[in-house]
């Protein structure tokens, strides 16, 4: 009886291993040769990618990167992570400093002209943070007003294209944006909803407008003309979904009160624009 069980378990394991091996396309020669996954991650965007108190890389996207290293090279430690910022991440990729970006990278047509994207692994909406007593109830109320936004973000591009009558005050950091609202330099700050949730959670004098807009999907970024690598990473995302890895990562990195937003963003399809 015991003997039979062992054989059965072995058979199941072999089948599972065989199925997985078949699921993952071959690793491109150039990547295989490097022997290490050179990945660009964010270092200032909890819970996606950041550095903890000890300076160690942490977050959902960091775990994604380690998992890909494990699948590609047999160990999650065969990885070389580089901190990238919103404006230098695409140059870092195209200058071959890293071979992929898992760095809160929204898939926009402008970016798709210079790099390729895998399929999306999460989606993110945008919101506007305003003072609690602000009369602004919807995006339409912003007409003719000054709105703070960060340079190079999807919100900036969306507002310029869809709401040209909003006057944009373009700044460099989230802290500047919040400061602009608090000092009355702008009626609101347009940014990622996930960031807005954190800001509003910390500051009771602020609230969100609550009208979804500029919904983008986040994908892994790779250089143009690397189809094998793109196929490999697409398969990796499929496998993360099939093995239901995102739920535990969210539990690990996101405080309980914000989890529903992240579960929705990582495990449900992108909604149509409201």
């Amino acid at each position: 009886m015991k003997r039979l069980n062992w054989a059965g378990a072995l058979a199941v394991l072999l089948c599972a291993w065989g199925a997985q091996a078949a699921d993952m396309p071959p690793l491109p020669a150039a990547i295989k040769e490097a022997g290490v996954l050179k990945v660009g991650v964010r270092c200032d965007q909890p819970p996606y990618g950041y550095q903890d108190q000890k300076g160690e890389f942490a977050g959902i996207e960091v775990d994604m990167a380690k998992t890909i290293a494990d699948w590609a090279f047999g160990s999650p430690s065969k990885i070389e992570m580089t901190c990238v910022t919103a404006d230098n991440r695409i140059p870092q990729l195209n200058a071959r400093k890293v071979d992929l970006l898992i760095a809160t990278l929204g898939m926009t047509p402008e970016r798709a002209r210079v790099i390729d994207f895998t399929k999306g692994y999460n989606w993110g909406g945008s919101d506007v943070t305003v003072p609690k007593d602000s009369p602004i109830k919807s995006l339409a109320d912003l007409k003719g007003k000054t709105l703070a936004v960060l340079k190079g973000t999807t919100q900036a591009a969306w507002l310029e294209a869809k709401m040209p009558d909003v006057d944009l005050l373009k700044l460099n950091s989230v802290a500047d944006g919040v400061q602009a609202v608090k000092q009355g330099r702008a009626v609101g700050f347009a940014g990622d909803k996930a960031t807005a949730v954190v800001i509003v959670g910390r500051d009771p004098a602020l609230r969100m407008v609550g009208q979804p807009y500029a919904i983008t999907e986040g994908g892994i970024g790779v250089r143009k003309n690397e189809p094998e690598w793109l196929a490999y990473l697409n398969a990796a995302i499929d496998r993360m979904r099939a093995e239901k890895m995102f739920g535990p990562w969210i539990d690990k990195w996101v405080p309980a009160e914000n989890r529903p937003l992240f579960i929705e963003a990582f495990t449900t399809p992108k909604p149509a624009e409201g």
């Binding site: 195209n94 970016r111 210079v114 190079g152 005050l169 000092q183 009355g184």
Partner: protein, 220 residues
């Protein structure tokens, strides 16, 4: 990455607006900084009570703190105490206040070469000290300080690039903003470098003309 000239041509209108903003904010700030510098140097030279130590404190404060911090203070800090300048005037104010401190010292330096005898002659003619400064010392001192004032003005023009940090749409803002969405780094920075060099050369040439004009003997 190849150099894409067509891209630059397409971006010309935006860059042109940025250039005009850079010129506008810089020229207004330059004029104000010279006014601040002259008034401050006069207050110091005449040893006006209260005002003279205040000017001294202002110069030290501005020269010993980073310009970027001063800009953030004027744009984000002053509204908290009820002084709300527009984005444009916040930019002008921060550049003028910064350069003004240097101009005070430049003009004081110029005034220091005016001979003691000229002051004494003015006073002997029955002029008040303020009149001597205005009619005798400043016309000579200001000429002497033109090269130093030009230096400060060039720094002001270059430092106007920092204003992109508070969202003023100057030339650097336009380039950085376009780069963050179009990723044409080489083209944009090449344009920035060339444009700033041309602006600084033009400024130096203009001041050279003024300097040569003023160097003519008084009798001529």
């Amino acid at each position: 990455m190849t150099f894409d000239t067509a891209y630059l041509v397409a971006q010309f209108p935006a860059l042109w607006r940025g250039l005009l903003m850079t010129l506008e904010v810089s020229l207004v700030a330059m004029a104000l900084s010279i006014v601040i510098g002259t008034a401050g140097a006069a207050a110091r030279q005449l040893r006006i009570p209260v005002l003279s130590p205040l000017v001294f404190a202002y110069v030290e404060l501005i020269r010993n703190t980073p310009l970027l911090v001063q800009m953030f203070f004027i744009f984000y800090g002053l509204p908290a105490i009820g002084i709300r300048l527009s984005l444009f005037w916040s930019g002008v104010a921060s550049l003028a206040v910064w350069a003004g401190a240097f101009q005070v010292e430049n003009i004081r330096g110029g005034l220091s070469v005016v001979g003691r005898g000229l002051y004494d002659a003015g006073l002997a003619l029955g002029l008040r000290r303020a009149k001597v400064l205005l009619l005798v010392a400043l016309p000579i001192g200001l000429r002497m300080s033109i090269p130093a004032m030009l230096n400060t003005s060039i720094s002001l023009l270059k430092n106007s690039a920092y204003l992109q940090a508070i969202g003023l749409r100057d030339l650097t803002f336009v380039a950085v903003d376009r780069i963050s969405s179009d990723f044409r780094i080489l083209e944009m920075f090449a344009v920035l470098l060339v444009t700033y060099i041309v602006l600084v050369f033009a400024l130096a040439a203009a001041s050279g003309v003024v300097e040569r004009r003023l160097r003519r003997p008084f009798a001529a």
